[in-house]
Subunit: 409 residues, 2 copies
Amino acid sequence: MKDEADDTTSAPPAALHRVDGPADDPTGELVAIVPAGGAGTRLWPLSRRSRPKFLLDLVGSGRTLLQATVDRLLPLTGDGGVYVVTGVAHAEAVAGQLPELPVANLLAEPSPRDSMAAIALAAAVVEARLGPRVVASFAADHVVPDADRFRDCVRTAVLAARAGYVTTVGIEATGPSTAFGYIERGEELAAVPGAFGVRRFVEKPDAETAAGYLATGRYSWNAGMFVVRTDVLLGHLARLHPELAAGVREIAAAWDTAGRDDVLGRVWPTLERIAIDHAIAEPVAAQGGVAVVPGTFGWDDVGDVDALAGLLSAAGQDDAAAPVVLASSEPGASSGEPGDGAGAPIVVIDSPGALVAPGPDAPAIAVVGLPGVAVVRTGDAILVLSRDAAQDVKGVVDRLRELGRDDLV
Amino acid sequence: MKDEADDTTSAPPAALHRVDGPADDPTGELVAIVPAGGAGTRLWPLSRRSRPKFLLDLVGSGRTLLQATVDRLLPLTGDGGVYVVTGVAHAEAVAGQLPELPVANLLAEPSPRDSMAAIALAAAVVEARLGPRVVASFAADHVVPDADRFRDCVRTAVLAARAGYVTTVGIEATGPSTAFGYIERGEELAAVPGAFGVRRFVEKPDAETAAGYLATGRYSWNAGMFVVRTDVLLGHLARLHPELAAGVREIAAAWDTAGRDDVLGRVWPTLERIAIDHAIAEPVAAQGGVAVVPGTFGWDDVGDVDALAGLLSAAGQDDAAAPVVLASSEPGASSGEPGDGAGAPIVVIDSPGALVAPGPDAPAIAVVGLPGVAVVRTGDAILVLSRDAAQDVKGVVDRLRELGRDDLV
C-alpha cells in the first residue's frame, strides 16, 4: 500500500482509467454533483436552519439558488446527469423544487459529515451505477450570472480531469477579498490549453496578503468547484483517508439494495468529518495532481446581505443611488412593487445603496436618511443593518440561541 | 368701535371683570381646555389621521398623551373642570379614553378651524354655562414629566390671568432649538411675582438666532399654553376678530339647546381659520396685554421620533448606549420585552442610541451597526430612519399620498 501511495505523489495518475466522452463534446458523460448544505447564517433572517440559503430565490430570478444551479448544469450533463446530496431534513424540499430530478439522483445524508463524505458518497454511487465517470461538484447556493462562460470553463476542466487531474475552476479575483481562499496556479498544461497546474491552495488571507496575491496575477478565488474522475477521486481518498474511502464504497455498494438503510445507519456516523479541500485538494496539489481552469463569469457566493445587495444592484439597476428591492426570497411569496400603488409601498428617501427585502405579505416600508442600510423582513423577523456590518449578523443568530430562541434561527 | 379698540392698546384690561377663586387656592374655579387635534405627521407610522398622536401612549407610561394631559390638569380644576375640544372623527375615541370626562365637556368640532376657533368656542361655552372663569388651554399631545412644578407655574399664571393678562407658560429653553417659537419676556409684574410682561412672540428661528436668544436669558419656548379669563379672551377676540368672536358666541349660546346642530352647521364653517398665537397672543403682546410665567418641568412636544427617543432615553435608562425600546404605543397592544426569551426578542448590536418600537404582535427585531437608528413598526408599516433625519418623515407621508395610499397616512 505504501509503495503504491508513493507512486502517485510524483505525477498525476493520468489516463490510468481513461474516461471517454463523445469526441465533439468533452462533457458527454459528465455527471454533476450538487452538495446542498449549509444554513447561510449570515443571511439571517432570510436563511434559517429549516430554510437554508440554497432553497431561497435570493436574487428574485424566480428560481431558487438550488434550481438555478441545476438549470446551469443540465446542459453539461444531459437529463438525469445531476445528483444532489442533502440532509434528510431538506430532502423533501429539494425534491419539491426539482421535479425533473430522478428520485434515485437525490442522496439524503442521515447527518452532516462535511463535504468530503458527501461528494465521495455521490461519486461512489455514480461509479457503482455507471462505472467510472468524470464528476463535477458545485455548491447549491452560489450565483453564476454568465452560465455560458461558466460551462465553457467546466468543459475545459473536464479535459484536465480526463487526463487524471483533480481539477478546480478558479474564479478570477475582482478585488483583494478576504472572504475567500485563493488558488495559486503554475504553468499551463501542455495537453489542456486553458488549464494550469496548481501550486497550492491558501486559506482566507488578510487584506495585505490578498493584495499581494492579486499583484502576481497567479491567484484566483477558490469557489470549491471540483471536476474529477470518480476513480481518481476515490483513489486519492483511498490513499489519503482510507477508512473514509472504504466507508463510502461500502455504502455505495448497498445504496441500490434493500440493505441501504442498514449500512447507511451503521457506517455513515463513523465517517471522518473533513472538507474536500483539506482531504484531497491541498495534499494532492502539493503532489502536483491538481489543475485549475481560471474563469470569469460573475460568480458570487452571496455570503451576506452586502454581497446580495451588490449582486442585485449590479444586475438590474441603472441608478446606483436607487434602492435595491428584493422582490421575493421564497417561491410563491408575494410582495409589492415599489411605488405601484397597489401592493405594499416602499419609500426610500436619502438612502443611496439601501436594500429592502420586504418579505411575504409586506407592510409599507419606509427608509429615511440611512445610506447603505439593509432592511430584511420575513414573516417572523426584521433585520435592520448597515451593509458594512453584514458579517456581524452571525452575532444576532448567536444571541437568539443564547435566548433559547432556536425557533428563530 | 375704533375708539374702543384703541383704548385697549395701552394697558391690559385688568380687573374689569374680576374673577375670584378661594383665597387660598388661586385655581379654585379654573377650567382647563384641551384642544385635541393635529395628526403628528412626523411621528408616522405611530400616528395617523385616524389615530393621532394624542390618542397614543408614546412614552409607554400606560396612559395616552391625552389621558396624561387630563390627569395632570384635574388636580388644578377639580372633577368636571376639564373640557376637551376635538374633531368629530375622534370624539368617540376621546370619550372612550376619558370615561371620567362629563359628556357635556367633550366639544366636537364638525371640521378643523384651527386653534383660535376651538379655544374660543370652549371658552364661550364655559362662560355661557358658568359665567366668566379663568380658562387654561394646553395641547393634548405634549409630555410634562414634572407635573407638580407644571401646576405651580399654572397657579402663578392664574394670578396673572385674574389680573387681566393673557398669560402664557413659557418653557425654559434647554438649548437653542429651532423647532419652537420663542417668547421674549420683559419686566416682572409687580403684582404677580414669577410672572413677567411679554415683549413679543417670535417664530421658529434659525440656529444662530436661537443661540442669541438663549444668551440674553430673556427667552423661553412657546408651548402654546394660555391661561386667561374667558371675558378677557373673548373681549380681545371681539376687538381683533369680531366675526369670529360673534360666531363662537352664537354657537355657544345654542350649545346646550336643541338648536346646537343647526347653528353649528351654519356658523362653524364660516369661522376664520387662525391660530390663537396670531389671533390673540402676538397682537395683544404688542399692546402690553400678555404675561408669561417661565417654567422648567421637562416639557416636550414629542415632535418627532428623535424627540421621542431622547425623552425615553432620559426617562429610563442608565446606559446611554443601550437601545431604547418603546414597549407599546397603543393601549392594549402587546410586545416583547428585550431579551426575555418569551415574547419577540429585540437584539441590538453596535448601535448606540438606537430606538426600537416593535409594535403589536411584534416579530423578532435585530439591529446591527447603525448608531442612532430608529425602527418603528406598526401593524401595517415599518419605518427605519436615522434619528438625525426624523423631521424628514413628513416626506414619507407626502410620498404615500402621491401614491394614493391615504389608507396608510
